[in-house]
């Protein structure tokens, strides 16, 4: 109440803060808040951006109906007659259609305005036609037994302003109009693009025994078209058209060679409904609508024969309603009256999975069989009516009898989009635009045109994480193969091999680095002299910032060749080093107690000194071991060329049996020994311990050797002719394409080298954090333990380590995260082959190395580019989870440590 009275001097200071200070405070506050929040958000934005870039991979496609109009060919032809084939140019301005009577109609796609119309074959009756994939090549068959080849192509011409009549000058950019018999489009560059359909027909050629041609299929080979045809008189023919150009006159003579295939119409059947020849011209499929398929092998031209008969529709009463090929004319596509669309291709018999194939008749095969690799469901119980295949990818548009259309990516089994033609009439004809940006459908009433955007049809969550059946592979596989030398190659984006590689790198480097780092941390914190610790710790910590490119260089160019030269020595070091330490420790025990106490300060020096001993032992013993158990050729043995699996089992089981023996000793022998030797002096006990140790080693070796021989199937020979178990660790554990065998053929760049060198990267991190955690255990606990009579060893193992356990765990997790994300070491030393093999002597490809190798070459915004962002996101998520767990545990541990 009375402020003045409180001050001593009676002088009251102005307590109002000056405006300058307030404003400074506010500005600083808002700046720091804003800057701080923005910084943190920016860091989190990394994650968001990855998601933002990767997410479009999974967006569905979109379609927009551009136009629907009544059929342009309506006037001359009756409405029920539908064209045989319809093609669209790659800018989606012009389309042509060929009618069964040989009429060609050319019309604007946007409006349906007919610009050109002609009868291709004025005097003859066309009875069959086959149209090629891209080039516009076509083959026609006639009632008089003639076959004629032709090209119906789009022709482009650019016109300037002055070349066009003035009435067209008011066209807007990208507007399309009819101009004479062509389409005219105004380009942004102030030019007109004229596009017309060009028809060129070769001279017809006649069959040697003319008969009306009912079915026709052709494929373009370099030498000319190969044609499979079925004639009215029941013959199946293989025709080849050759053009001979007379050099003098320039006259072209067309020659038709036909060869009759051994075909006999099955008793109760009419003429086959479809005849197809595959892209390479080595197989012909003859198909009836009830599902029977006969496959002819043409590889031996002189002896074409039926090699397979398959029932494509086993269900009673159901029929095939459409057949066709995927891009490349390799995979056969069939649609049936149940609305299913199936994709078939040939795989070797012995490697084929048990796909649902119903073999009708046993015939002498060609070692291949048709398998149903993909099945694409349609709307409920509505028959498939037609396919439109993509001309650049593995997509397939399927039209159904109820007017709906589905666009599938076949390999990924991905329903990209679905649309429907108004009026619910069956889709009679379906065509995809050459750039996969449009679909044209013909019903018996109208023509529909959709603009579509497919985004990234090859990618679904299933296709990147589960095995996918790629064309021409024998089974479903996990594969990553983003580019190849050839054009018609299908990129394979399975992330599993990369994730597997990442895990493999992590596992092997953790197997090597984790125990070393933790042991080193425990020793440093509990047994090392304070002065030595102050020197060693910063050195190891400094290693954490050693650039990984240096490690990668050392791994690839220094260590890999050395390891490659001394494989048995390397393997032996894993045995000699611990063994040497144990032997030395037992010898150390032989020292009188007084010496022991005095020297224990120098123990680490002795340990250090015994390390080279262990290494030289391994160096000397390497050749011996190689000669003794690896048949003198370690690499050959690893590759499986020489020797049996027994040495491998011996090596792998050695640690297990060592553990078993240790368990046995501590549970059975040690208590007895202790009871017995209670009153013995140290000098008497120590030799006994040494003897016990020697016995243990012998037992371990014997146990491992016995188990190894047993597993490799050796002793069974005494009892049975065929051993019940004969396992080889070099590649006998293959599960679903995943080779889990721990050892196998040797590659120069391998997981052993990577694991070893990655140790340099992860040991310092794990060591530092683990050592800090151990140090954080309060000293009063140690004092209490020691005061109660426990030895330092007991204190360390019973008290300090359990108390610091969560810290040790967190250290391991952080090391794990580092190992998973390491790039340069694996890039340089891992060989970078995306294989699914656990083999420690083989290479691998990790997510990180894959990104580093491929991202600079990937086109921004493309599927490959986004898949690499996806890979980065997976890596990010992986490490983020691991790190979060570690961090949470660490914080909890910290809290607990404060309470102690």
């Amino acid at each position: 109440m009375n402020e003045q009275a409180r001050t001593l001097t009676g002088w009251q200071r102005r307590r109002q803060t000056t405006l300058r200070v307030t404003i400074g405070d506010v500005v600083a506050r808002s700046l720091i808040t804003f800057g701080g929040m923005a910084t943190i958000l920016a860091v989190l934005g990394v994650c968001l951006f990855l998601v933002w870039e990767a997410a479009p991979l999974f967006f569905a496609g979109e379609s927009r109906e551009q136009a629907a109009y009544s059929q342009p060919w309506d006037n001359p032809a009756p409405a029920t007659v539908q064209p045989l084939h319809l093609a669209v140019d790659d800018h989606r301005t012009l389309a042509w259609a060929v009618m069964p009577d040989g009429q060609l109609h050319v019309f604007l796609l946007e409006t349906g305005e007919l610009v050109h119309q002609r009868q291709l074959f004025p005097a003859r009756e066309m009875t069959a036609a086959s149209f090629g994939e891209r080039g516009g090549d076509a083959v026609f068959g006639f009632a008089n037994g003639q076959i004629q080849r032709g090209d119906i192509t789009f022709e482009t011409q650019f016109l300037n302003h002055d070349d066009v009549p003035a009435s067209y000058h008011d066209m807007a950019v990208n507007e399309v109009r009819a101009y004479e018999d062509a389409s005219l489009l105004m380009t942004p560059g102030d030019q007109f693009r004229l596009r017309r359909v060009n028809v060129s027909l070769d001279e017809p050629a006649e069959l040697s025994e003319p008969s009306a041609i009912v079915r026709l299929s052709h494929t373009m080979r370099r030498s000319g078209p190969m044609i499979a045809s079925y004639t009215e008189d029941g013959r199946l023919l293989l025709n080849e058209i050759r053009q001979r150009r007379n050099l003098m006159t320039g006259e072209v003579r067309v020659e038709l060679r036909d060869r009759e295939l051994p075909f006999r119409l099955p008793a109760d059947r009419d003429a086959p409904d479809h005849v197809h020849i595959v892209g390479l011209g080595d197989n012909i499929f003859v198909v009836w609508d009830d599902g029977l398929l006969l496959r002819y092998d043409l590889r031996d031209r002189n002896d074409p024969r039926v090699v397979e008969a398959v029932d494509l529709v086993p269900e009673q009463g159901e029929r095939l309603t459409a057949t066709g090929f995927m891009l490349g004319r390799h995979s056969l596509v069939t649609g049936d009256s149940l609305g299913r669309t199936r994709v078939w291709f040939r795989v070797p018999v012995d490697e084929a999975d048990d796909a649902d194939v119903a073999v009708v008749a046993e015939v002498e095969g060609d070692g291949l069989r048709m398998v149903n690799a993909h099945e694409l469901p349609g709307p409920e119980a509505v028959g498939v009516t037609d396919f439109g295949r993509s001309l650049r990818s593995r997509m397939l548009a399927i039209g159904y009898a109820d007017g709906s259309i589905r666009l599938y990516h076949v390999t990924a089994n991905n329903l990209v989009l679905e649309t429907r033609a108004a009026g619910d009439r069956p889709i009679d004809l379906l065509t995809m635009a050459p750039r996969d940006n449009g679909i044209v459908a013909v019903t018996d009433q109208r023509v529909h045109d959709w603009a579509i955007s497919t985004r990234h049809p090859a990618i679904t969550a299933r296709s990147i994480f589960t095995p996918v059946w790629y064309e021409d592979y024998t089974r479903r596989l996990h594969m990553w193969q983003s580019s190849a030398a050839t054009d018609d190659f299908e990129p394979k984006y399975g992330l599993v091999p990369l994730i597997f590689g990442t895990l493999k790198a992590t596992i092997y480097s953790m197997m090597f680095g984790l125990p070393l780092a933790l042991l080193a941390a425990v020793y440093t914190s509990e047994f090392l002299h304070r002065k030595v610790r102050a020197k060693i710790k910063p050195v190891i910590e400094m290693m954490a910032s050693l650039p990984s490119v240096v490690l990668g260089f050392v791994a690839a160019l220094v260590i890999a060749p050395i390891v490659g030269r001394f494989v048995p020595v390397m393997l032996l070091t894993f045995i000699t080093i611990p063994l040497t330490y144990l032997v030395c420790a037992h010898l150390w025990q032989l020292l009188p107690y007084r010496w022991h106490v005095r020297l224990s300060e120098w123990r680490f020096s002795f340990i250090l000194a015994s390390t080279p001993v262990a290494l030289s032992l391994a160096l000397l013993g390497g050749p011996v071991i190689e000669w003794l158990i690896f048949s003198g050729d370690t690499r050959g043995w690893l590759g499986g060329q020489v020797g049996t699996g027994a040495p491998g089992w011996f090596m792998l089981l050695l640690p297990v049996s060592a553990l078993l023996v240790a368990l046995l000793f501590s549970m059975v022998i040690n208590p007895r020994l202790r009871q017995m030797g209670e009153d013995w002096p140290r000098s008497k006990l120590a030799p006994l311990e040494l003897a016990k140790f020697a016995g243990g080693v012998a037992l371990t070796v014997a146990l491992a050797a016995f188990a190894g021989l047993l597993l490799a199937g050796y002793p069974w020979h005494w009892f049975a002719a065929t051993p019940p178990i004969a396992l080889d660790p070099r590649g006998s554990f293959v599960i679903g394409g995943l080779d889990l065998s721990p050892i196998g053929a040797y590659a120069q760049r391998n997981a052993l080298v990577v694991g070893f060198v990655m140790g340099f990267a992860i040991i310092p991190i794990i060591y530092t954090i683990a050592e800090d955690a151990l140090n954080a255990v309060p000293d009063h606990l140690r004092s209490a333990s020691l005061g109660a009579g426990a030895t330092p060893w007991q204190t360390a193992i019973r008290l300090v380590v359990p108390t610091a356990m969560s810290g040790l765990f967190s250290a391991s997790m952080i090391g794990l995260g580092r190992a998973a994300g390491e790039t340069m070491i694996v890039l340089m030393a891992a060989g970078n082959t995306p294989v699914l093999e656990m083999n420690i002597f083989n290479g691998f490809r990790t997510l990180s190395a894959n990104i580093a190798v491929e991202l600079p070459e990937a086109a921004a915004g493309g599927t490959h580019y986004r898949m690499l962002f996806m890979a980065a996101l997976v890596l990010f998520t992986l490490t983020f989870i691991v790190n979060t767990v570690a961090e949470t545990v660490r914080l909890r541990f910290r809290k607990r440590a404060f309470q102690l």
Binding site: I40, A520, I536, N670
Partner: protein
């Protein structure tokens, strides 16, 4: 664990069972803890872990330091005469022991160079093997034979500059007094003896000593003139080019903006013409100066005897085609039967044995074929007569034309002679020294001179020689830029987290997230940098927004922004006036203010990225397909690394802030200081060493990262440095070279990995040195900081 605990339980049990000690020395002796309780073997195992870690680390450091430091030391040149009469001369690069049984396998595996062209000594396996087995008998216990990798140099002669020589096959060894080691600007080093010195086409000296004296007399001046020439080329000529390019880009930009028939275009065109005329004149002047220097330098030439007299070999090769043209496919990598060599501007052929060829005909030919592919017949004998021979430039196919009918598969016996001299302009010589006459001081001088060259010169010969100045400049520029970017933001974030944000689940979640991000793989940041900075932000800077808003929309938004900003400012003022934070209305006002400011920030962002009036800073370059920022560059690399190292700075700064005792803050408040005053005057100065530590740690981490840089701007060879003497001095858009990436490139992508290894080791040593220096300084700062706090504690 279970075994151990059980064991200890037993221990305790037994301890309890023993009666308590009363007195007497014998009793006490026995009461020492039991042997198993000491767990000596286990302690040794644990210690072994530490021992292995230490050994690994020391071995790695020793490897790098030894190899890196020894590279530049001039080594003696040995001359080895091998059993088959061949003479090999050069310094010994390294040696190794190999098992006599498998001579060639071990080293070839990872060595593309030796694979590509096997050393002549190993090329004819038959005699070599024999000798090896001979040695094997002498070698003793391990059956190992020593072999040396001789740096024979003279790459244009021998194809590969290194050659393995098995000690077993050496007949005599000596150190030739006048053997000189010549480092050349192209074709790598050369080994030979000085034969003559030529000035203006006249031989002025012919004995080695005289020649050498002349060389030492004239070389420094030549070297200096060469340096002058380089400056003229790079600085003067480069400046002229820059100006010309700027004028040209200006023209393109004007065309894009105003069209071709505008006045501005005409003006720009005229300016370009003027600049071109000026540039032409300037170029002519510079050319003249350069020509003058070149003429002076060209006067001096050194002739070196690279003689390696090789015995005439009589071996055969099978031609694959019959007459009239014979064709032979010469060696595929690893093949063993032929080789071309340049002798005095012509090529001579050496054809070695194809083991399967039968000896059923005879023809000796010596063919001299010129560089351009034309061949002249020098000598033939036997039944075949050669008209001409043509070989392709890569030297792996020879086509010989003969005038007689010859059977296919005719074995041809070839002989060759390697006596030769090389004439070399002094200009081409970087450094030369008579390796076997050097005193220790001279050696040290050369050693230091080489280090100096290494640190100050640009790389030559596909980065395998010369210096690493561009990588050093690139690394330093990038790291410093990163530092400028990361420190302010890191400190702001840490201040916010530690001083301003109220502790709660969100803040601890953020802290966990930030700590975590330190563990996110660096390549992920690289992916982000490429996708966001290079492709999105870079594109925006180059050519403006891709989806600009319509003008009216943008202007409306601008107006809205002004409005919202005014409202937000008003709300902020109100909020400042309010004193009682506990009233809910005041708190609501606070939330509203924050929300408004967030809206303002959002609108500003929208206005920037949809600005229809902004057409990019470099539309001309973007239109020409030579993007400026829409690609990797030093700015994007620094930004990416700044993000990467941000957690390091945040964590270090937070720790430093936390270490400032609360009592000091309280004292400051008690004196009436405001929060910001306290932070600025009390907290930040105390925390400064900690912040510096964080900064240095971030620099160390950033300098060593390579993976993200591969994506955002590090290149194998950059013509221009990111820092230069021409405006704007710091070129943020330029790609750069980086020491780490240099190691990756040279060590891993280089075709001649053996030749590149020394370079990689020295670069590695340099990089490790820089990083270790940064780390050590961080370490000392930390210690100082701790000491200071100990004093500052109230």
């Amino acid at each position: 664990m279970t075994t151990v605990s059980r064991q200890c339980n037993q221990d305790r049990g037994s301890a309890r069972a023993t009666p308590p000690a009363v007195s007497g020395t014998t009793r006490r002796k026995r009461r020492g803890p039991s042997l198993t309780a000491h767990g000596e073997p286990m302690v040794w195992l644990i210690g072994g872990g530490l021992a292995i870690c230490s050994c690994m680390i020391l071995a790695l450091l020793a490897l790098v330091v030894f190899n890196g430091a020894a590279t530049f030391w001039p080594r003696a040149i040995v001359e080895l005469t091998i059993a088959d009469g061949q003479v090999v001369m050069g310094p010994v690069a390294r040696g190794e022991y190999f098992e006599a049984g498998a001579p060639a396998e071990a080293d070839v595996v990872d060595d593309p160079a030796s694979e590509a062209a096997p050393a002549p000594a190993a090329a004819s396996p038959a005699p070599d093997d024999e000798l090896v087995t001979e040695e094997h008998a002498e070698a003793g216990v391990l059956g190992l034979v020593r072999r040396d990798l001789i740096q024979v140099g003279n790459r244009e002669l021998f194809g590969t500059p290194f050659q393995w020589v098995s000690r077993a096959s050496v007949e005599s060894e000596r150190l030739p007094q006048w053997a000189i080691f010549v480092e050349r600007r192209t074709w790598g080093p050369m080994v030979g003896t000085p034969a003559a010195f030529i000035i203006d086409g006249e031989e002025v000296a012919s004995t080695p000593a005289e020649v050498w004296a002349m060389f030492e007399q004239h070389h420094p001046a030549v070297r200096q003139r060469h340096a002058q020439r380089r400056v003229l080329e790079r600085v003067d000529s480069g400046g002229v080019n820059d100006r010309e390019e700027a004028a040209r880009l200006n023209l393109v930009q004007t065309r894009l903006r105003y069209g071709t028939d505008s006045d501005a275009y005409a003006a720009a065109m005229q300016e370009l013409e003027e600049v071109r005329a000026w540039a032409q004149q300037r170029h002519a002047e510079i050319r003249e100066q350069i020509d003058l220097l070149n003429d002076q330098n060209d006067r001096y030439r050194l002739v070196t005897d690279t003689s390696r007299v090789e015995a005439v070999e009589q071996e055969s090769v099978a031609w694959t085609q019959a007459t009239p043209t014979l064709q032979a496919d010469l060696p595929t990598p690893g093949g063993d039967f032929a080789r071309w060599r340049v002798v005095d501007g012509s090529l001579s052929i050496r054809i070695e044995a194809e083991p399967e060829a039968e000896d059923n005909g005879e023809a000796t030919l010596i063919l001299a074929a010129h560089d351009d592919g034309a061949g002249t017949l020098v000598q033939t004998a036997g039944s075949a007569r050669l008209v001409s021979g043509v070989l392709d430039r890569r030297g792996n196919r020879v086509t010989l034309e003969v005038d007689a009918d010859l059977p296919a598969n005719l074995p041809v016996l070839a002989s060759y002679d390697m006596q030769q001299q090389r004439e070399l302009g002094l200009d081409q010589i970087v450094r030369a020294y008579p390796a076997n006459q050097l005193t220790l001081t001279r050696k040290a001088g050369i050693y230091l001179d080489r280090w100096w060259e290494f640190l100050t010169e640009r790389p030559r010969e596909a980065n395998t020689e010369g210096g690493v100045l561009p990588p050093i400049v690139g690394t330093v520029t990038m790291t410093l830029l990163m530092c400028f970017l990361v420190v302010p933001f890191g400190v702001l974030a840490a201040l916010y987290l530690r001083e301003y944000a109220k502790a709660g689940p969100i803040v601890s979640a953020v802290r966990i997230a930030v700590n975590n991000l330190a563990g996110v793989p660096s390549i992920v940041f690289g992916v982000f940098g490429l996708g966001f900075f290079c492709y999105i932000v870079g594109d925006f800077i180059d050519s403006g927004p891709t989806h600009a808003a319509p003008n009216y929309q943008w202007i409306t938004a601008l107006a809205a922004l002004v409005l919202v900003t005014l409202v937000a400012a008003g709300a902020t003022m109100l909020r400042l006036r309010a004193t009682d934070d506990r009233q809910w209305s005041v708190r609501m006002l606070g939330y509203v203010t924050t929300g408004l400011w967030i809206v303002v920030a959002g609108v500003v962002l929208w206005l920037v990225i949809r600005n229809p009036f902004f057409g990019g800073f470099f539309p001309a370059q973007a239109a020409e397909g030579t993007p400026v920022f829409n690609k990797g560059g030093v700015l994007w690399a620094s930004l990416t690394l700044a993000l990467l190292t941000l957690p390091v700075v945040i964590v270090a700064t937070e720790e430093a802030l936390a270490a400032v005792p609360g009592s000091m803050r309280e004292g400051s408040y008690a004196c009436g200081a405001s929060k910001w005053q306290t932070i600025r005057r009390i907290v930040l100065p105390r925390a400064m060493p900690g912040i510096m530590t964080g900064m240095i740690l971030a620099m160390a981490r950033g300098a060593g990262e390579v993976a993200p840089l591969m994506l955002v701007g590090a290149v194998t060879m950059a013509q221009e440095l990111p820092v230069s003497g021409s405006a704007p001095f710091l070129h943020l858009d330029r790609s750069f070279m980086h020491l780490g990436f240099h190691i990756y490139d040279v060590g891993f992508q280089s075709p001649d990995s053996e030749g590149a290894k020394p370079m990689v080791y020295t670069t590695t040593l340099l990089l490790i040195g820089i990083i270790a220096m940064l780390n050590v300084s961080a370490f000392f700062l930390r210690t100082r900081l701790r000491r200071r706090f100990a004093e500052a504690q109230f």
